[in-house]
Every structure is written in structure tokens, then in C-alpha cells.
Amino acid sequence: MGLFKTLAVFLRIKKKEVNVLVIGLNNSGKSTIINHFKDEEDKQSEIVPTVGFNVEKFQNQSLSFTAFDMSGHGRYRDLWEHYYKDCHGIVFVIDSSDKLRLVVVKDELDLLLQHPDICNRKIPILFFANKMDCKESLSSVKIAAGLGLDKIMDKPWNISASNALTGDGLNEGVEWLTQQIRDTIVNRN
């Protein structure tokens, strides 16, 4: 059976299912980003603050993504760590117009990287410097410097400036994540 399954995946008949965790502070645009990848008929016209988390599925190339859209509100951030174990990739959304909370983003990122379920795994992390259309927004380079992303040595990471309302920058980011996840899965097999 295992051979058939691998063959099916290899021949791209059956799509491999992967879990990605979408995290970030509240009001950073996580649900809006997920909404962009949904099919036209499932799209929501109005995004409300997420309570707890939502599970959404979407396809990209050969992979079938199951995205855990976590709530970013302070009181729900404790939930994040329970999903670290089973995820293949992490999408970290940052509100690049919120300079005040960049330190909070850094604090949460440090907590993520120090978590025992994450720190020893070579898990790809995709950063979206969202809300790039806001006039007071910081560039993705500045955000990467502010968060000290250059210090992440053991994990592949990528930052892309995005605008979740129009969809700019989202596909490039997810393309990268797909590639990374496919690489790790192929390597494991």
C-alpha cells in the first residue's frame, strides 16, 4: 500500500496533505490571508476577529493545505503551542503598520522558536509583512531586522511583503512555503 501511495503522490494523482499553522498578533490579517486562498464561492465578504481558531482547506500545486487559522488575541495565544507538534509549516503574519507592537511580535516569535516542539525541527517559517499598502508601514527588510530573523539559522524562512486585501505578495510567499514543505517531505521519503 505504501508503495502505491508514494507512487500516487509522485505521479501527482493524489495530493499530499500538509498542515500549516497561521499565527500572528490580532488584527494582523491572518483570516484575510486565508480568505484570499479560498475558492470563490467560499470567500467571506467581511472578516471578523477570530475566536479560538478556524480550520480552512485549500489547494496549491501538488499539496493540499489544511490551515489552522489561530486567533491572535492575547487570551487565545496560549492555544498556538498545542498545534506546533503536527504542523509542517508556519505562516507568521505581521502587521507592518503597527510599529508599537513590533516588540510583542518579537516576543511571540521568540516564544515560538524556543518551544520544544519547534526548536529542534527544521520547519519552514513564512513571514508575511502584511498591510504593505498602509502609508506608515515598515518595509519587510526593516521588519526582518527588527525581529532579528537573521539569527534563525536552523530553519528555512522567508519574508514577503503582502497586501491581503488585494492579494499582492501572497502567492509568492505560499509558493515558497510549498516548495519548502515538498522538499522536506521528499527528503523524508
Binding site: 492575547g74 495565544r77 503597527d98 510599529k99 508599537l100 507592537r101 516588540v103 510583542v104 516576543d107 516564544l111
Partner: protein, 591 residues
Amino acid sequence: MSKTELNPSRWLEAHSDRSADLTTLPKHLLLANICGDGDYRLVLVDAKFGDDISARLKVYKGTVLCSDQSLPDVPSALISFYVDGIEPRTPVLGVACGSDLLIYKNSKPFYKFSIPPLSISALEQDVWQKLCLSSDEPYEKIIEALESVPLSELSGRSQKLLTLAQQEIEDYVYKYRNAELRRICPITCMTTLYRNSEDATSVSYPVLATEFGQLYVLDSQTFTILHEARISNTKATPSIVVAAGKFEVEFRILVACRERYVTLIRKDWLEGKNILQTTASIVDMLIMPGDKFICIATSDKMLNCYSKRGNKLWSVATAQAITCISLVPLQHLSLSLVAVGMQGGSIHLYHSRHPVDYISAPDTPSAIVFGQMGQEDHVMVIITLGGTINFKILKRTADFGLNQDTGISPTIQSKPLPLPKRSKLFLEQSLREKQNPTDMHQSFQQDLIRLRLTSARTLLQINSDQSGIGNTKEQIKLSAQVLGLGPTFTLILTVENMNPDKALIQLSAIFHCNPENYQLSLYTLPIPFVPPSLSYKIHNKVIECLNDGLPKDEAQGNNTIRVFIVRNEQIQPVLAATINMPPTDPLAFTM
């Protein structure tokens, strides 16, 4: 709690701007959702007290100044409150300038409420009429009449007139000839009071207190006076007002006065009641949510807490003079801390009387506010005397270590101790004490001296006791025992580990003696592991060397064996002892 436990800090340094150049007084700072978009803004008054006094109302969105407008005068207080239930819920800002309450809605001037002017005495009115109309009578004569009225009951204009020099009077009178004579009462402090619900976004009423000791509660929609009360029956100049409760149900308004007392006004009271008095001037006052205790910072470096009725519960001395205090409510931990800003730039957070955290500001904080700002719930904004604006964010993981040591706070003794009733024996004893106090005192002193003597004697005895030598720091005790009559002795050393937790390891015993006198079976011995509270015995065979068949006993130091307990690779011995060996009985030897 030691300082090392507090590192790394519970606070994230979000932003600091040394060039902000703000002069903000404690009651001039608040966080409010003034645009109704859920993005809480920082609203502050920047007052400049240079040659020309001016004040500006500034609004910060995040770290960016987004609105800046000038105010007619330096305000005494700044509040925000909800006036209605219309969605989106947007609070208005209230600024107390002089005797006016200026209302700003959506950062635009919206309404002005003026405190009704006080009555002017007929005499004063008459004087001004005369001053304005007639010019044949000399001014001084007319003005003289004013001096019969107490200065505090005159209008500001007459007060100034009395201080002027003769040549200036004419100009002054001419200038105000046609202006209406008014005795205004400036608002000194202001707060808000919920109407019928204590929800954060429910409608609340402004509460104003004036220089002359009047208190007004205003309707926030019609801006009419709903309740008016005198603050105290004595002279009271309110400086801080705080309110708790609901206007339509029951409320408590506390007013701290410059005369160092605090008065309480409740629903339907027309006059306040003094509930407490402090020895030093009141810097700031808070009502703690929940238990409604009154927290007062005074100018003598004290933070005091009083019960609802004004009984003092506790007071703590702070390291430096307090400049401002702010409530730090943490709902997710269900506790409220008090941030105390002090001279020099340190801010201590108190949980009741215990300091639980220390924060440092660039210099002496002049105003502190804690609350929601932007999207973040727990932001502390500090404005210092040097004009720096500093934003700190409380970490999500901070719990102030209060989960572990909840037992640290001793229960506050609000009720008296359960003392037994005075017994017959007690009465007899006290009667006896009254009859011959001198004898009793003398016999007590005698016993006390005797006790001291006994204890000193015991101490001396212990010190000179040779049987056991101990090292109190390492908690090791060494005792020696000499068996035998000679020339062969057995020396038994007992190393005792008195530490109940730690075992003794890496120790050695070294024996030192004059080889001409004694020969030992062992000179060094590594002491094995000694578990806590146990002892280890060392047996050592000593043979006295006898010259000419006779034991030597000329010098004292020669018949001693020295023992050192040393820790491996440590120069200083842990313990040293001298054992006096008994002289060999020559008779026993010859036999």
C-alpha cells in the same frame, strides 16, 4: 522577591522618544477609543509654562502624533466618557479650563459648559458701579469699602484691584468699565461616574469639583447639573476627585483636599463628610477596584491604604518621593496593581503592600497611564519630567509570581484580636503592681541581670570547651577522644556533618605532630562521603617515642597533635584542632 528573579523584564520596551518635549501633568493623560474604531488613542495635554503659558491637546495614534490643537488655557483635568449608546460607541473628551468644561467629540470642539458664577456681594457691586460712573470721588475712597469684605469672597477683578498701585487703578477700572462683574469658580479636578452600569463603555457623567469647594455631577447629554454638593463643612480646596459606583444606584465620591483630608460624598448627600486626614500633603489618590480601598500617595514618601470608612489599613515607605501613581488593572490575572512613579525614574508596582516589579523610566516620571492602546491591551505610557514619552508593553506571559506565593500577604488585622476578658487574677496582679511598683521593678531588673550573666557564662563555657570544635559555616563538627595509657594510644576522631541537606565530600584529614615525639599510623586520610546528619569515625594509632626510656614533658607544645580537615584543592583548612595528648605514665611503661 529578589531582583534576579525579575530578569528578564516582564515589560517589553516598545518605543521611547526623548525628543517628544512634552510637559504633561498627572491628570492630563488618558487612553480612549476616541475615534470609535477600536484603535485606542493616547490623549494628553502638553502644557508649556514658559514666558507665555500655553497648552495643546494632542492625540497619538500608536507612536505617531495624529492630532494637535491649542487649548484656551492650561486645563486642570482631562477626562473621557461615553455620552450615549449610539453605535459606533465613541467617547467624548472633557477638558476643564478655568470654570469651563470643554467637550470635544471626534477631536472637534463640541460643547462648552460653564460652572454657574457665584453671587457677588451687594457692596462689591455697588463699589464697581461707583467706580465706573463717577469720576469726581477719588478711587481710593471707594475702594476702601472693599476691604471690609473677606478677600476670598471677592471676585478676581476686585482682588486684583486691591493689589494695584495707585497710578494703575484708573487704567484698570477703565479697561473693565463695561465688562460684567463675575465671580467665577475654577474647576480644580474632575472625574467620571457611571450612570447605571459599570461596563467600560456605558454612559457616564462628569463630576467636577471647584476651587470653592462645590461638587457638581453633570448630565452628559444635556449638560445640566444633576447633583450639587458642598465638599465639606469646613474650608476645603479639592485637588483630586475619584468616584466609584453608579449614579442612579449608589455611588461614593471621594475628594482629596489641599488641607490634607479626604471627604466622602454619597448619593443624595448635600455635604461631604471628612473620613480621613493625612499628615503630609496628598500627591494622588486611587480607589482600588473590587474591595474599594482608598490608596493615597503622600509627599512624605509613603503609600497608604485606607478602608472604605477611612480606617488606615497599611502604609509602606517608598525609596524616593512619589511623583505619580496609576492603577494597573490586570483582568486576566484578576488583580490590580498600583504603579508608583518616583523621583529618579524608578517605577515600582505594588500588589497591596508588596512591591512585585520594578520598571525604570528614562528620568522622573511625571504622568503614567496603563490600559489599552492601539490593539494592545496592556500598555504603559510614561511621560517624564524631561519630556520623554515611553511606551512599555506587558508581556503576555507575565504573572508577577503571585500564583506561587499567595500566602505572603499577612491577613490585615481589621478586627481586634480575640483577647480574653480580664480575669480576677489579672486584676489582683495589677493591683499589686500599683501598690509596690519600686520593689517589683527592682526584682525584675535583678532577674534580668542574672539571666544575662547566666547566658554570658554559658557562652564563655561553650567557647572554651575543647571537646568539640565546629565550623558553623560548613556545619562540620570534630571531636576527639584519646584512649589508652601510653606509650601507645588510640586517637578516635569523629567528623560530624551537621548540615541536614548537604553531604560532605572531598574532604581529607591531615595529622600533624612532632615526629620526635609521636609516630602515627596514618598522617593523611581522605574522608569518604559523609551523608547529611551522620558522622564518620577515624581511628588512629599513636605511639609515643621515648628517648632514654623516659617520656619527655618539658615543653607544652610538644605533646600535641594537630588535626586539619581540608577540602581538596583548597588552601585554607575547613577546620583545625589541637589535641593535647596525656603524658605516658612512666610507671606503667617500666612495668
